[in-house]
């Protein structure tokens, strides 16, 4: 049956191997204290800087979502709620804190206490709380890179200087903590690597403009995001994305889509309900509806519109990426604009807004977003609610019902349109 069909390519295996290799490094760090590790947030992460110390990133979000996909998030969430966290706190944070309390890791391997907890604050206030609490819990040093929010179309000179200054202060901090000298050339090479990975990733995203799209820019993009954040600044990353591009390019050239007959092209806004990832995907697969673009896949970086890291000006380009080139630090109206471009340039039939109660950065105001797309632009838009980590907020019956109704209406209007023409 259609709704059991799912894209599977050889890159999915490669992705698994890469991510496991990463967890092995963390396990090694936990046992031997080497390599140094730095906790960071996915959004606007500055993994390039870490390369200058041959340090490895820890991404609490990745741990949290891995757990949720494996239906193991509820226990740690409850453990955190016992500490006093509210039902309405971000469940990513609760799952992560719960895991530390209960010593749970996604792979069963060990996770190190980070050499530095580096809060790259890019718009998400929850990040600040999260990392403050982690530092308190793990007794680890904390440093905050305060990234000015995108309150204008472009960052100001003083925004950039402020961040560059803090990046340099971070370097000093890491030199103290690791006892290693910052390797500027390595850093510059890392930035060069990133710019190549980003080019490949961007080309992959543009493949989704073809009809049918060779991959699902929401459900499949998520598989590719792991390597993007962990390995972007390394040769492994470049190799992986070369392979991925080749595979998807071939598929596109053969006019092979995600589904036998691509019926609908969608833009997805908001993170997915990881605890019901497969169930949720099936609800769209049933209608052979393919995501051709998604805002969630630009959390770590927004590259399909041309930005690349710049080895000739590494610190500034890292700063630029943190300030202006990831969806979380861009303001709400800039997100409207991003989605609007997707709808037009990726030629989508509609927008799905997935409200997740955990994440106010993503979700607060999405009703206004719906208003903008339906009333101002006349784009069919569906608004559904659940959560990205907490299984208790997914109401399967309601969600399925609304998705079915949305496609019934969309199918009707498409049919009507085809009769008219």
């Amino acid at each position: 049956m259609n709704d059991k069909k799912e894209y599977r390519g050889s890159i999915h295996q490669q992705q698994k191997d890469l991510m496991l290799a990463w967890y092995d490094q963390l396990d090694q760090a936990a046992t031997t204290g080497n390599p140094p590790t730095v906790s960071m947030m996915i959004s606007g992460n500055c993994v390039e800087l870490l390369e200058g110390f041959e340090a490895v990133p820890i991404y609490p979000e990745v741990n949290a979502l891995q757990l949720a996909i494996r239906h193991q998030s509820l226990d740690p969430i409850l453990a955190a709620e016992e500490l006093g966290y509210a039902a309405d706190n971000c469940a990513y944070v609760k799952a992560d804190i719960g895991c530390i309390l209960k010593k749970i890791t996604p792979t069963g391997g060990k996770l190190p206490t980070p050499t530095l907890i580096l809060c790259n604050f890019v718009g998400c206030n929850t990040y600040l709380k999260w990392f403050e609490h982690l530092a308190k819990l793990q007794q680890a040093p904390l440093y905050v890179i305060d990234v000015p929010f995108m309150r204008a179309d472009e960052p100001s000179r003083s925004d950039i200087e402020y961040v560059v200054k803090q990046l340099q202060e971070t370097v000093n901090k890491l030199e103290q903590l690791t006892g290693r000298k910052f390797d500027y050339d390595r850093f510059r090479q890392a930035v060069a690597c990133s710019s190549r990975t980003e080019e490949l990733w961007s080309q992959i995203k543009h493949l989704a403009r073809r009809s049918p799209s060779p991959f699902d820019a929401y459900f499949d993009a998520i598989t590719l995001m792991g390597p993007l954040y962990v390995y972007r600044a390394r040769p492994e990353g470049v190799e992986f994305f070369e392979a991925a591009l080749a595979e998807l390019q071939a598929k596109a050239d053969a006019r092979k889509g995600v589904y036998e007959q691509e019926q609908f092209r969608l833009v997805m806004e908001g993170p997915p309900p990881y605890p019901y990832f497969r169930t949720f995907r099936d609800m769209f697969a049933k209608w052979q509806a393919c995501a051709v673009a998604s805002t969630y896949s630009t959390v770590g970086g927004l590259w399909e519109f041309g930005f690349r890291h710049d080895p000739s000006n590494p610190f500034e380009s890292v700063a630029m990426h943190m300030i202006a080139q990831n969806v979380t630090n861009r303001n709400f109206l800039q997100r409207y604009e991003q989605i609007r471009r997707y709808v037009e340039e990726w030629n989508a039939d509609g927008v799905i807004i997935h409200f997740v109660k955990s994440c106010r950065l993503f979700s607060a105001g999405q009703g206004d977003m719906r208003e903008y797309f339906t009333k101002q632009l006349g784009v069919p838009t569906l608004y559904i609610e659940s959560d990205l980590e907490d299984p208790r907020y997914f109401a399967e019956a309601q969600t399925k019902n609304r998705i079915d109704a949305f496609f019934e209406a969309l199918e009707h209007s498409k049919a009507a349109a085809s009769i008219r023409s």
Partner: protein, 279 residues
């Protein structure tokens, strides 16, 4: 003459409607049973009752479309469709000129923008914490120890309706108890409850472009107090069909008839979701 049926398996009640097309489309029979714990059975009971009512054999019914939460449990159904699509279709048929449908179900409240041919243009449904408007009313009735049918008329007698802040169906109970303790009259409390629901429903409908005619569907439409309260906040009269609670089933039956009509080319019938029991 062609005969088709629609069966709407809702969370509390299951409705069946048989429609015939003999030059003109009309409702041949209706039936309503409580859904209860055995959804499949409920669908059968409703369908059989409807056939008896219409004086036809189940076999004579050429096509059956199921809708509502239990739609996939209708073993004898030829196709399934969501109640959103069916409510729009049914409303346009029973209340010609319908452009906006407002429905308060036991589980969901919805507002639907309807096109000239009864197609769904856009729709919105209640936020999570505001689920179950239908329940909101029946809970209030229970707490105050009166029957659901009295609720509406009583609310119209309210002198100084109380204010209800919560949207939670369960917590409204404690608000009501507080007001009872304060010695507020049942009329004023129910008036407050109705106003609260009306305002909440309006703010739901506002997410669409509310255009006349506005039709209220579902069982709650029989609650005169709710209809008046809603009309008061919207600021215009609404259409209410005597068959309001059958509208989902009527819509389903209409689709079933269209299916029999070979000239119909809607894409609705493409895709595997429309084969028997498809899920």
């Amino acid at each position: 003459m062609r005969i088709a049926a629609g069966v709407d398996v809702g969370s509390t009640q299951t409705k069946a409607v048989i429609m015939s097309d003999n030059g003109g489309v009309k409702i041949a029979a209706r039936a309503l049973v409580d859904t209860g714990a055995n959804v499949q059975r409920a669908a059968e009971r409703a369908f059989d009752a409807c056939c008896r009512e219409a004086g036809v054999h189940g076999g004579d019914v050429a096509f059956v479309v199921g809708t509502g939460y239990g739609r996939y449990k209708i073993a004898f159904g030829n196709a399934q469709m969501t109640e959103i699509t069916c409510h729009a279709k049914g409303a346009a048929f029973l209340c010609p000129g319908t452009r906006t449908v407002i429905d308060m179900g036991g589980q969901d409240s919805k507002a639907i923008s309807v096109g000239p041919n009864g197609e769904v243009v856009d729709f919105v449904m209640n936020d999570k914490c505001a689920a179950g408007t239908g329940r909101f009313l029946s809970n209030s009735a229970e707490v105050m120890g009166i029957s659901l049918d009295e609720v509406g008329p009583l609310s119209l007698k309210a002198q100084h309706p109380v204010k209800i802040a919560t949207v939670c169906t369960v917590f409204v109970e404690s608000d009501i108890l507080s007001y009872l303790a304060q010695g507020k009259t049942g009329e004023d409390i129910l008036g407050g409850v109705h106003n609260a629901i009306a305002k909440r429903t309006l703010s739901l409908a506002r997410r669409l472009n509310i255009e006349p005619e506005i039709t209220m569907t579902g069982g709650v439409a029989r609650n005169i107090g709710m209809v008046r309260a809603l009309e008061a906040v919207i600021g215009r009269k609404m259409l209410v069909s005597p068959d309001a609670q059958f509208i989902g089933a009527v819509g389903a039956a209409l689709f079933a008839l269209e299916k029999l009509d070979q000239s119909f080319e809607s894409g609705i019938w493409r895709g595997e979701h429309a084969v028997p029991g498809g899920h």
